[in-house]
């Protein structure tokens, strides 16, 4: 067992454990905190893949922005009532059985996984160029059109959110 495997094992174990904690906590704020720890470990997995830029963005965007918005929303809920509520619906064993069987179905094809062709960006090439440069080059040359399309879709979503949340002007005479 190499050092890398030990670290990978640790990160994988913590990710599974904290994910379970996220869905089982009664208090949503505690769930969010466990999710924060999970995000850090996911970022560490990206570091293992030499994807340092993605790791940093994972923390900045998911942990720093999206999760803070979750916290914001949770603060506006009535937490006292939320904690008192029954956490599970009566039919939870059925749901668990379905989830487990879907999980098993996904495990079966794992045996047939084949390693694909090695592309231009191997570990060596990325280490030479640094990950940020490599990612930027690929995104802005080979995948420029999909990248711009994705940004256009996000822009539409932003404009849509602004339009929806804007107050409507009162109709005259009311």
């Amino acid at each position: 067992m190499t050092l890398n495997q030990v670290f990978f094992g640790y990160f994988a174990f913590v990710i599974v454990l904290t994910s379970l904690l996220v869905v089982t906590r009664k208090n949503p704020v505690h769930s969010v905190l466990w999710m924060l720890i999970m995000f850090f470990h996911v970022a560490a997995l990206y570091l293992f893949l030499n994807a340092e830029f993605i790791a940093a963005i994972q923390i900045i965007v998911y942990a720093g922005a999206i999760l803070v918005l979750y916290v914001f929303v949770i603060f506006l809920l009535n937490l006292k009532q939320e904690i008192g509520d029954e956490q599970r619906v009566g039919e939870w064993p059925v749901g668990l059985a379905i989830a487990l069987s879907i999980g098993l179905l996904m495990l079966i094809p794992m045996a047939g996984i084949k390693v694909g062709m090695m592309g231009k960006w191997g570990v060596k090439a990325i280490e030479d160029e640094t990950h940020t440069v490599a990612l930027g080059k690929v995104l802005y040359t080979d995948y420029l059109l999909p990248f711009e399309l994705a940004s256009l879709i996000l822009l539409v979503a932003i404009v849509g959110a602004v339009v929806l949340s804007k107050k409507k002007k009162k109709v005259e005479g009311q």
Partner: protein, 347 residues
């Protein structure tokens, strides 16, 4: 037997030596940073006192020099009070989050040529990530205290920090474009190639945006809405006392030092002197540890600037804080990115 062979091998010894060196470096950086925090509080009280025609602390030691030590001892021995209905685990953890996130940021800052705890390629992004984690400490402290003033302070802080983080990130993009790197050491070296040796001249718009948003990120006056004492008692840490309060205080000052370090590294040329000064007095480069002294001198100027602002400018109203961030700083930063990009392509 295999483990024994591994321990005796050359590779293990090198790894062990690396770890020991890193631990020593961390100890030095944290120790020096803590010393700076202690005397930053003293210097703040002294300089603001002088600006308001007072003496500042005078009683403990010569001109109050031992005041920070007395304050520290007092805070350590004060009673630790926890509100009855507080969410205890979150209440315990939030000052630690603030301390951790700011102290970890120090690990990627190059203090002088070749001295940095972790020389990583994404240093700039790392600091942005850590400063966004610091927001959790504030928000959760406000929520877990189960009291209305801290809660309001926490909500204000989260909205403010999220808004100004955008402006700060965008203002640093100009620096990234000019240096072509996210590694802080490379950014300093790229500046040395520039005639004035500092990015503050070509990136003056970005520097303005960065300074204002750094003030807002560290919750300093005029953006100290989250802890506005005449509206919210003490804001998000109202319910904290003793050593936990001290942790918030330390975290805030370390955060201030980190932001000042960022200004020095990204805009003021880090540990280097402008090339024209080196040309006039060439012997400065042979002085041992000159880089560290230059870095510290620039750092102290930046930190003094914080005090100066605090003594000069009154607090903003909350809607003004938000309007300034979204309607002025972010468009300015975007404009700066556009200009920098066009010049980079043309040049």
């Amino acid at each position: 037997m295999k483990i024994f062979e591994f321990i005796m091998s050359e590779g293990f010894f090198d790894m062990f030596l690396d770890i020991v060196i890193i631990i020593i470096k961390i100890a030095v950086v944290v120790g020096v940073a803590m010393l700076h925090v202690m005397y930053a509080t003293w210097a703040e009280r002294k300089s603001i006192g002088r600006m308001q025609v007072r003496m500042g602390p005078m009683e403990v030691g010569f001109h109050g020099l031992l005041q920070p030590i007395a304050d520290g001892v007092k805070l350590f021995f004060k009673e630790d009070i926890i509100p009855a209905n507080a969410d205890k685990p979150v209440f315990y953890v939030s000052p630690v989050i603030i301390m951790m996130s700011t102290l970890v940021s120090l690990s990627v800052i190059p203090f002088f040529d070749g001295f940095v705890v972790a020389n990583i390629n994404i240093g700039l992004l790392f600091i942005l990530a850590m400063s966004s984690i610091g927001a959790y400490g504030i928000v959760l402290a406000g929520w877990s205290s189960n009291s209305k003033y801290p809660f309001l302070g926490g909500l204000r802080a989260s909205a403010q920090v999220i808004s100004y983080e955008v402006a700060m990130g965008l203002s640093l993009v100009g620096v990234m474009i000019m240096a072509g790197s996210l590694n802080l050491q490379d950014i300093v070296k790229a500046q040395a190639a520039y005639p004035t040796g500092m990015y503050v001249v070509p990136q003056i718009i970005a520097f303005f945006v960065f300074v204002v948003s750094a003030l807002a990120e560290t919750n300093r006056t005029p953006f100290d809405m989250p802890e506005a004492e005449n509206e919210l008692v003490a804001g998000y840490f109202t319910e904290y006392s003793g050593i936990r309060f001290a942790l918030f205080f330390l975290g805030e000052y370390v955060g201030m030092i980190v932001m000042a370090c960022m200004a020095v590294v990204c805009f003021l040329g880090g540990w280097t002197l402008p090339p024209f000064i080196v040309k006039i007095v060439p012997f400065v480069e042979s002085v041992p540890f000159i880089g560290l002294f230059i870095f510290l001198a620039k750092l102290y100027v930046c930190i003094f600037f914080y005090y100066w602002i605090r003594a000069t400018v009154p607090r903003y109203r909350y809607d003004q804080v938000m309007a300034l961030g979204w309607k002025l700083l972010i468009p300015l930063a975007l404009l700066n990115i556009l200009i920098t990009g066009v010049i980079k392509i043309l040049a």
